[in-house]
């Protein structure tokens, strides 16, 4: 008996599109037919060509058939500016054919004959048909003819081992049609408008023979072509970390380490919450500097200050990394107003993994917050990010700005932030007579004792300097301190644990 050619249907064909093969859990399958649906402008033609050029670069042979009346010169002109475009493949690894005339004059039977003949003569291993809506229209009113065309094509390419992409327009009514059940996979591309922003998303509705990342994944179209950012929670959400490390990490401020019971735990995440000007960024700089000085790769990932500004500010506080052991401090600045949440998440983890980052200062959760059109995602996203950073052994400080500079209320701008952070440190500014004082309090430390009470601190030429417990003990946490009689307890004695 000749065994079935399972290898045809189990051999993956990688698309070469950044992020898309991750969404597809490895790529497409050889010999399968896939429907790519999207409205005009979604990027279907760019995607089809990008996959073709990648396939050709790996030695494959591609047939790109258009059913639109547009000349190939126009299509190639559009692709010319793309980084994936290589003119040496045209006519060899990639052959462009126009099926419009055959379809117009001979219907679907003529088109099928053209495809079969071309596949055979070109020894094609990948077929892209652009403009399938024309084939559908050509079959009307006989809808059975279109199904028969898909069925015949499926039988043909299955035996020939040719992978097929059918590019077609989305049906605005979202009607499920027979060909949706016949094809082996469906990818949907769309653009959603939120306020003044448009965000592109793709999703896999079906992928026969394989699992895939569920849900919507954002993508960009640039000179690279399509770049897909797999949805962060879908990609990393199943990871489960082990027990919290018992190793302590210095915050870079000895007095603060004392309040924390010896520093923060390695791999933990600390949220520093406070209004503008309260000292959050300077505190983060101490943390980074301590790491860089110890030879630990440290990363400052922010949205509001450029790298030169960060380094200059650190230098003014005497926090230089010259002469430090190891790679020192990395500063990543994401200034754009049109950021994508998943792109930021992936970029952050890429830097962490590439440079072996041990300390991360993420300055401004607001920067991540404004990068999504769907704020309901944020709790899940942050939860997964914190878990992933913890799993990578990265000790993290995040900052979050509260809206009011002087306020009786302390509101967490990011929903559920307290749930996913191990520690919360709040900074406040209070008015005492004619002075504005800065106060610090540890609101939460998971699995550790910490000093209770408010502590005065200042930002001096040496950075953050923490002073004694604040004496005006009543109402200070509400921003309206008055004289009282209670004196806060001294901080717990530092545990004899190893600290880095």
């Amino acid at each position: 008996m000749i065994e079935p050619k399972r290898t045809i249907y189990s051999t993956r064909l990688r698309t070469g599109v950044a992020g898309l093969d991750t969404v597809l859990h490895g790529g497409l399958f050889q010999g399968h037919i896939y429907l790519v649906m999207g409205r005009p402008g979604a990027g279907k033609t760019i995607l089809g060509n990008q996959i073709c050029f990648h396939h050709a670069s790996k030695g494959g042979r591609t047939l790109y058939v258009t059913l639109l009346s547009e000349a190939h010169e126009a299509l190639l002109a559009q692709m010319h500016g793309m980084e994936f475009f290589d003119p040496t493949f045209i006519g060899t690894g990639i052959v462009y054919l126009n099926g419009y005339v055959a379809l117009r004059d001979g219907g679907l039977d003529a088109l099928l004959k053209l495809l079969r003949d071309a596949i055979r003569s070109q020894s094609a291993t990948l077929l892209v048909i652009d403009g399938m809506v024309m084939a559908e229209l050509a079959a009307l009113p006989n809808v059975t003819a279109y199904k028969r065309f898909i069925q015949d094509l499926q039988a043909w390419v299955g035996m020939m081992g040719v992978t097929v992409l059918l590019l077609t327009s989305s049906d605005p009514t979202n009607t499920i049609r027979a060909e949706h059940t016949m094809v082996d996979g469906i990818v949907e591309m769309r653009s959603i408008t939120v306020g003044a922003r448009s965000v592109r998303e793709l999703s896999v509705a079906k992928l026969r023979g394989s699992s895939f990342l569920e849900g919507c994944h954002t993508y960009l179209i640039s000179s690279e072509g399509l770049v897909v950012y797999p949805r962060f929670e879908a990609l990393f959400g199943s990871r489960r970390t082990g027990a919290q490390s018992e190793q302590r990490v210095t915050s870079g401020i000895e007095a603060l380490d004392d309040l924390l019971g010896g520093g923060v735990f390695e791999g933990s995440t600390t949220l520093v919450l406070g209004p503008t000007g309260s000292g959050k960024t300077v505190l983060g700089m101490h943390f980074l500097h301590a790491g860089a000085r110890a030879g630990e790769p440290a990363l400052c990932f922010g949205f509001f200050e450029n790298p030169a500004s960060i380094r200059a500010k650190m230098a003014r506080f005497g926090m230089t990394t010259d002469g430090s052991r190891g790679p020192g401090l990395l500063v990543e600045w994401q200034p754009s107003a049109e950021l994508l949440l998943d792109a930021l998440g992936h970029r952050l983890l890429e830097l962490v993994r590439t440079h072996g980052v041990r300390r991360l200062f993420l300055d401004g959760l607001a920067g991540l917050r404004r990068a999504t059109a769907n704020p309901d995602r944020l709790p899940s996203f942050f939860s997964v990010l914190v878990e992933e950073l913890g799993a990578l052994g990265v000790t993290t400080i995040l900052t979050e700005e509260t809206q009011d500079i002087f306020s009786g209320e302390l509101t967490l701008p990011t929903q559920a932030a307290s749930a996913f952070c191990h520690n919360i440190l709040t900074l406040r500014q209070v008015q005492v007579e004619a002075q504005i004082l800065r106060l610090l309090a540890l609101t939460k430390t998971r699995d550790s004792a910490h000093a209770r009470g408010l502590y005065e601190f200042e930002v001096s030429a040496a950075g953050v300097v923490i002073g004694p417990p604040f004496k005006l003990t009543q109402g200070a946490a509400k921003g309206i301190p008055t004289r009282g009689t209670n004196v806060p307890k001294a901080p717990p004695s530092r545990k004899e644990t190893k600290r880095k």
Binding site: M1, K5, Q151, D152, A155, W156, M159
Partner: protein, 118 residues
């Protein structure tokens, strides 16, 4: 020119295989079930029969047994095609070439050449 009889109820499969074999220089005749296949054997006198297993009216095994019982056609080479080779009776599997689906062009041509020669 050698003649191949292709017996299968799936029209898309028949069209595809028929076109491939025609390219390879074979004359192809087709039938949609075992009963039509037996009639085609008598009328067309093929050199080889490619017979699908699961078909309406008369399946591939029934057609094969009918051929083996007819001295005129008992020696006709038959290849059974099926997606479920283990569903075939054990004695049939042992005595008859089987091409398991899905198969590609090279596997198809290989089994044909094994039966008919190059």
């Amino acid at each position: 020119m050698k003649t191949i009889l292709l017996v299968d109820d799936e029209l898309a499969i028949v069209d595809t295989i028929a076109e491939v074999l025609a390219w390879e220089g074979y004359r192809v005749v087709t039938a949609a079930n075992g009963r039509e296949g037996l009639a085609a054997v008598k009328s067309e006198r093929p050199d080889l029969a490619l017979v699908d297993f699961m078909m309406p009216l008369m399946d591939g095994v029934q057609m094969l047994l009918a051929l083996r019982a007819d001295p005129t056609h008992a020696a006709l080479p038959v290849v059974l095609i099926t997606a479920a080779p283990m569903a075939l009776p054990a004695d049939i599997r042992a005595s008859t070439p089987v091409l398991a689906k899905p198969f590609d062009v090279s596997s198809l041509l290989r089994v044909i050449r094994d039966q008919l020669g190059p």
